[in-house]
């Protein structure tokens, strides 16, 4: 955790990720990156800017447009002693790697009774909101989180991104590490000089305290939640905002603790509205804390459509602060 005394520096999310990855590569010779355009091109999202120059082609490996082989060869390299940080340019293309991720990355450790470990991180850029259209606009992490054997990370700010990526690289389990495209330029603070700053795997986080309603989010959802909380505060409603940070392991303790206090909950996420993360949380809450429920739990998510190109149509399908405020008002 960032303590009050720690010296901090302001930075963009992409730079926080870049620092985390760069420091881990300096620390551990076994860590390397691979993926499309990660090297000479400096990374599609500039997260690996300067890596090729510093670490050279051995540790910064450009690949063909071969998602199955990127994910699958990362599994093999991890089994054989390296610690790959593989990049799939956007999570949409990770559909092509689903088998390698679910049947191999997530299962090799179990299937062979612990003989092999798969210490790999698969970085993916995720989300939508800039007319990227239907095939390029998914936030589908829930389908990966459905399966045991994999961790799924979804940071909502530079500090968490920094500590979560480091923790993921140092962990011996495979991690799908999802980075919100819309938030790459988000500003925040990270430790100026603490290369061992880690966010514990599977710990969600209270991002704002409040006693009237619990708003649960992850990644971009957290920002909509915080914006909504500010708005609600004007009306005297104090929302507690909880950032899941990891979809696996899913840590609902802070959500339960909050709900015991607020008895009301809204979940907000960028994903599609059916069979999403919010469904699991609502199902769990009503099961575990039935007696604390003062109102139905509401979900705010995208509309149930493929995403269109037209900007106005597209935005109308995206969750936002106002939709969160509205949902909160319905449960108050």
């Amino acid at each position: 955790m960032a303590t009050a005394t720690m010296e901090m520096k302001r930075t963009q999310m992409r730079e926080a990720l870049r620092s985390a990855l760069m420091e881990e590569m300096r620390r551990d010779e076994r860590v390397f990156v691979m993926g499309q355009e990660v090297g000479k091109w400096q990374g599609t999202h500039r997260v690996t800017r300067g890596f090729y120059e510093e670490f050279g082609p051995k540790r910064v490996r450009d690949t063909p447009i071969s998602e199955m082989a990127i994910a699958g060869s990362a599994v093999g390299a991890a089994m054989n002693g390296l610690r790959p940080v593989a990049e799939i340019m956007t999570i949409n293309f990770a559909f092509l790697a689903l088998d390698a991720i679910i049947n191999h990355a997530a299962k090799v450790h179990y299937m062979f009774n612990g003989q092999f470990t798969v210490p790999m991180v698969l970085r993916v850029a995720s989300g939508w909101g800039n007319q990227a259209t239907a095939t390029h606009s998914h936030t589908p992490e829930v389908i990966f989180a459905h399966f045991p054997g994999l961790y799924v990370a979804m940071p909502s700010n530079p500090l968490d991104a920094y500590g979560m990526l480091k923790a993921s690289i140092r962990d011996d389990n495979p991690v799908l590490f999802s980075e919100s495209i819309a938030m790459y330029s988000a500003i925040g603070e990270i430790p100026a000089d603490d290369p061992d700053y880690l966010v514990p795997i599977g710990k969600s986080d209270v991002k704002r305290e409040g006693s009237d309603v619990t708003i649960v989010g992850y990644a971009r959802g957290v920002n909509w939640a915080l914006d909504a909380a500010k708005e609600l505060a004007k009306d005297g409603v104090q929302a507690e905002v909880i950032d899941l940070r990891w979809l696996r392991p899913l840590d609902l303790e802070p959500v339960y603790n909050s709900f015991k206090k607020t008895n009301r909950c809204v979940i907000v996420e960028e994903a599609l509205p059916m069979f999403n993360v919010g469904a699991e949380i609502a199902a769990k809450l009503q099961e575990e804390l039935f007696d604390y429920m003062d109102a139905p739990i509401k979900r705010v998510a995208a509309e149930d459509v493929p995403l269109p190109y037209n900007a106005t149509l597209e935005l109308s399908a995206l969750p936002d602060k106002n939709k969160v405020v509205k949902a909160v008002k319905e449960v108050l």
Partner: protein
């Protein structure tokens, strides 16, 4: 079968039209009239579009990736509908829902641009399979990026077409790069047409993708072959003058600059003009000039149409999710 004058001029017109259409689209993207994160221009690659598509019949089929404006125009789609799509308007080819990467026109048997690299290749196999199934005398022309040729889709789709002897022309647009990655850094063997053998597909080798007429002739031969016998693979060497997408910088290096100079010397429009000049028509220069002027008007008319077209209705967000 030598091409007639009007055919040559019409190809020339099309090359210029596609070039200007896309140059203007780039400007409109810069000025934010065209939105979004993706706009992929084919400046420099017009010959592989026009040459190949003109070699087909109206009943044949065309499919490609996201760099698709020119293909639609070549197939006969009025540029104004393509421009309107990029503006996200109701009048666009996809009603404003598809955007630049997803131009299609069923009536022109242009099955669309597709944004998942390699994702359209099995669709091409399936489209050709349906023609074959019905006994229709149609071929499917499927474009393939050099980068796309390293994707699993390429392997499975080409192989299946070989197993089923389908009437497909697999046409690699080798523009030397997939984003910033050079062919030889992405393919174990950078001579991509040599992959044909592994699939039992007729290998038609490498061709000059800057010369519209060479492309035209080879694709005509390919179409004849494919209609009778099954799939063929062609690798056309070409070059894109701009970044991968308009918002991407060009990858800078001396080697790259040399390539660019070399290819610009053999620009598709120049090469085509030379072909026409060689014919010694009386009024060549005037005709060519008129074409350029006409193109300016056409492109501006398309922009005007796009600009003045209406946005989709809000509830169109929900239409066409299901039939």
């Amino acid at each position: 079968m030598a091409l007639k004058k009007d055919e040559l001029l019409s190809m020339y017109h099309e090359l210029v039209l596609i070039r200007r259409f896309e140059e203007r689209a780039g400007e409109l993207y810069a000025s934010k009239e065209i939105g979004g994160v993706y706009l992929h221009l084919a400046n420099g690659q017009e010959a592989v579009i026009t040459g190949a598509i003109h070699a087909l019949r109206e009943t044949d089929h065309v499919i490609t990736a996201y760099r698709d404006h020119g293909h639609a125009i070549s197939r006969g789609v009025d540029p104004k509908y393509v421009m309107a799509e990029m503006f996200g308007k109701r009048t666009g080819t996809s009603g404003g829902k598809g955007g630049s990467m997803h131009i299609a026109s069923k009536e022109h048997r242009f099955w669309g641009g597709y944004a998942i690299v390699g994702g359209h290749l099995p669709l091409a196999t399936g489209i050709a399979m349906a023609s074959h199934y019905r006994g229709d005398d149609e071929v499917t022309l499927s474009y393939i990026g050099d980068g796309a040729s390293n994707n699993g889709y390429f392997h499975e789709s080409l192989n299946l077409s070989g197993v089923w002897d389908l009437p497909v022309i697999w046409f690699i647009e080798n523009n030397f790069y997939g984003m910033g990655t050079a062919v030889e850094e992405a393919a174990g063997n950078p001579i991509l047409h040599e992959r044909a053998q592994g699939y039992g597909i007729k290998d038609m080798g490498r061709i000059d993708g800057q010369d519209t007429l060479e492309v035209y002739e080879v694709v005509q031969e390919a179409a004849e072959y494919a209609r009778e016998n099954g799939p063929v693979l062609i690798e056309a060497m070409t070059y894109r003058y701009r970044g991968h997408g308009v918002s991407d910088r060009l990858f800078e290096s001396d080697a790259r600059a040399d390539e660019m100079t070399q290819f610009k010397e053999r620009d598709p429009i120049t090469v085509m003009a030379e072909h026409i000049r060689k014919r010694d028509y009386v009024d060549t220069e005037a005709e060519l000039k008129r074409i350029h002027e006409r193109v300016e008007e056409e492109v501006e008319a398309a922009i005007k149409f796009a600009r003045e077209s209406a946005e989709p209705y809000p509830d169109e967000l929900y239409t066409h999710v299901y039939v």
